[in-house]
Symmetry: C2
Subunit: 481 residues, 2 copies
Amino acid sequence: MPSKFSKFAIYRKDMNRNGDTICALATSYGGALATIRVSGPECYSIIEKLFFPADSSVKLDEQGGFRIIHGDIREDSELIDEVLVNLYKAPHSYTGEDSVEISCHGSFYVITRILELLVKNGAASALPGEFTRRAFMNGKMDLSQAEAVADLVASDSKAAHRIAINQIRGGFSAEIAKLRSELLKFTSLIELELDFGEEDVEFADRKELRKLVLQSRELAESLASSFKLGNVIKNGFPIAIVGKPNSGKSTLLNALLNEEKAIVSAIPGTTRDAIEDTININGLIYRFIDTAGLRETSDEIEVLGIRKTKEKMMQASVILLVDEAGEKAEEINRRADIIRRMITDPDVRLIILVNKIDGCDKSVVDELSKKIYLDIDDSLLFISGEKHIGLDKLRRRLARIFEKRGVTNEGVIITNIRHYEALKHVSESLNRVITGLDEKRPDDLITTDIRQAIHYLGEITGEITTDEILENIFRNFCIGK
Amino acid sequence: MPSKFSKFAIYRKDMNRNGDTICALATSYGGALATIRVSGPECYSIIEKLFFPADSSVKLDEQGGFRIIHGDIREDSELIDEVLVNLYKAPHSYTGEDSVEISCHGSFYVITRILELLVKNGAASALPGEFTRRAFMNGKMDLSQAEAVADLVASDSKAAHRIAINQIRGGFSAEIAKLRSELLKFTSLIELELDFGEEDVEFADRKELRKLVLQSRELAESLASSFKLGNVIKNGFPIAIVGKPNSGKSTLLNALLNEEKAIVSAIPGTTRDAIEDTININGLIYRFIDTAGLRETSDEIEVLGIRKTKEKMMQASVILLVDEAGEKAEEINRRADIIRRMITDPDVRLIILVNKIDGCDKSVVDELSKKIYLDIDDSLLFISGEKHIGLDKLRRRLARIFEKRGVTNEGVIITNIRHYEALKHVSESLNRVITGLDEKRPDDLITTDIRQAIHYLGEITGEITTDEILENIFRNFCIGK
């Protein structure tokens, strides 16, 4: 395994572009204020060429870290902006290097001028994620924590936020580290036996080892299986709305979307368009799948034979069948059956929504309640999308379905496909170890498999990594992070 | 005149909504990082309820200002984000109050949670410009400086930036203060005379006074007359492109716009769409007026009789007449004459552009050069919009026209219509003073007019202000500034 130092050396070779000190806008354009980040060994010597403290007796490199200095950014005699500069000294900074954050006015012109000035004085424009990459390289966080930083910035719901922040705080890393250190301990003992060659000593108790490997495999598999849940938490719980033309599918979706928008814009200081077709209900994101004709008037149920529509619908965890109060119960049952026959995943839930109840007698509702057939786990709700009747009930129903799946558990949930794949490899390697132990295969074959499991665990946290892996991870970051 | 204290009292009554401590996002959504500002007397007691320093021995209110503290934002036991908090103590902050800036991750969810938490703990959501309004109220800046903060944030070009930053630094305020204090001195002397009643003393030399008032009026008028220039610097120099159909007007405009976009996106760390129809050339913004048919194929020149088109074109400082190399010189002269006849403002310049020269002989160009008639200050350029020939010459020509108008002067230029109107009132009042002195009107009438001039000067810097004026100014700010 490469040591921290050798990783660092590879990194230097690869990333040493215009110099070791990098700069980027860390906030976005368009606010009253903006923050420009500078990090690297030449940070202070560069900043001194363009930043002039209001108190001219202040020497930046004589200041401690975690200090704020007020002053001017100037190019020659021209004043660019009056700013506040946050000083950080290595290793006590985000990147672990000497760092500075310039808080300037949010003008596009001002930001551009300051970035140009930094580059003129020897800083390089940071690549996406380069600050976090340096934090990883300098041992401030492991790779899975670094990845969680991007997840946190992108987090849009309470559940996604909780997973990201747990991962940053090392919850996941701790699980992986525990697994890894147990396996390492045993593999060293077996390797020690091998060193003794023919002497037939047994440092590692084979029964103990088998128990440990079983436990480890179970942990790896349970983490891997949390990926499906993690993925929907991150991207939204997929929901399909289907129904015959004019049953009010669009009206229902719009009613749900508009109510959410109203909630979001009531939060002080925030205005943002909700992402189309995504709804945040009690901290969970629901994503409405655009099945063909969702917003059109064609009857999807009748054309479900068309493979593509069917496939799309089958990505859903919940299917909302929208029908009308004016419809016959037999007809609704017929449609519901078409859908039931297509569902193969036992986790998929069907909710039958009888819409437009505002325009009909109570007796109609009672009649339908009696006659509509429900399979185990199906639900039936009476609503009016237009008049916003029954939507709260629908939201509670959805929330309950997903809560049952453990989204509110405090356990570690993985959301990253890279981690999922590594954990799958870990579990396969450990399977081979168990078979090896059961079949009393030679120790060197067994240790090879344990070593492989350890290798994949190391890939998750970045103990073992390649430039390619790092490039793939950090190129998805935004610039300035 | 109300004292600083009484202004403050009015302000408190008016703005004391949910409490005196305000909060808002100061950067914008969408970056890696975001900054939330909190300001007011309860700032520290509120922040202590949600921010927990990593070093738990740190007591926020025992820290000095200009310190950065690392820690967690929590709601009950739930971790919201790991943040850095900048501390400022009154009066050494932007607002002059106790203030805190929270630097958190740029997630919409995280930002919203922190703002909600601040409000829950007693902070009020800041109104647009409320931080700067407090800075003004607490004597950190005068009103014209506060207005310049919004101009600086919006500044998009070197010239607009220079004006805004000069104004923030008090260049304009100093001119106004000088005017005001001279007038105040004289008016007090005259008022002293009035106190002595019949005694016929003359503390204020009338000749001196007349000279001073003339100088003051001249200064007020020269500042007021800089408004026209300031306005075009802020909003862009208006340019009209006219010409017969298919002369290549759109191609020319697109060529200019695309070259600028390429320059902007070459600046490290920046990507932004240039505002349509505005071009930044050497730090000045040029704004292309959308005359009817600019992007269409109708012949504007032939329909210039239509009042609206004519009016729009007449807002331009420069008119680009686009014609083709294939055209006869007489025809080009005829068109140019139509335009010349319409120009009434002697400052408007005509540039005749002979386009599509890539497809023709040098002899054609020579012939046209000889035969196209130019009035004083007209220009003639041979270009190809399609092949990007001659565009640099055109840009230099435009720059020279506007440089001659003093945009690069270091003098004070006003850009604010409020200041313009106040200065106009000042100059009118001073006119009456001069007439009064010449006609030997009673001293109390003269002092009334001087007082009026002083009043209008005070309105500019905010020595005299009303809630209505303040509302009008600050509602145009963004939230968080």
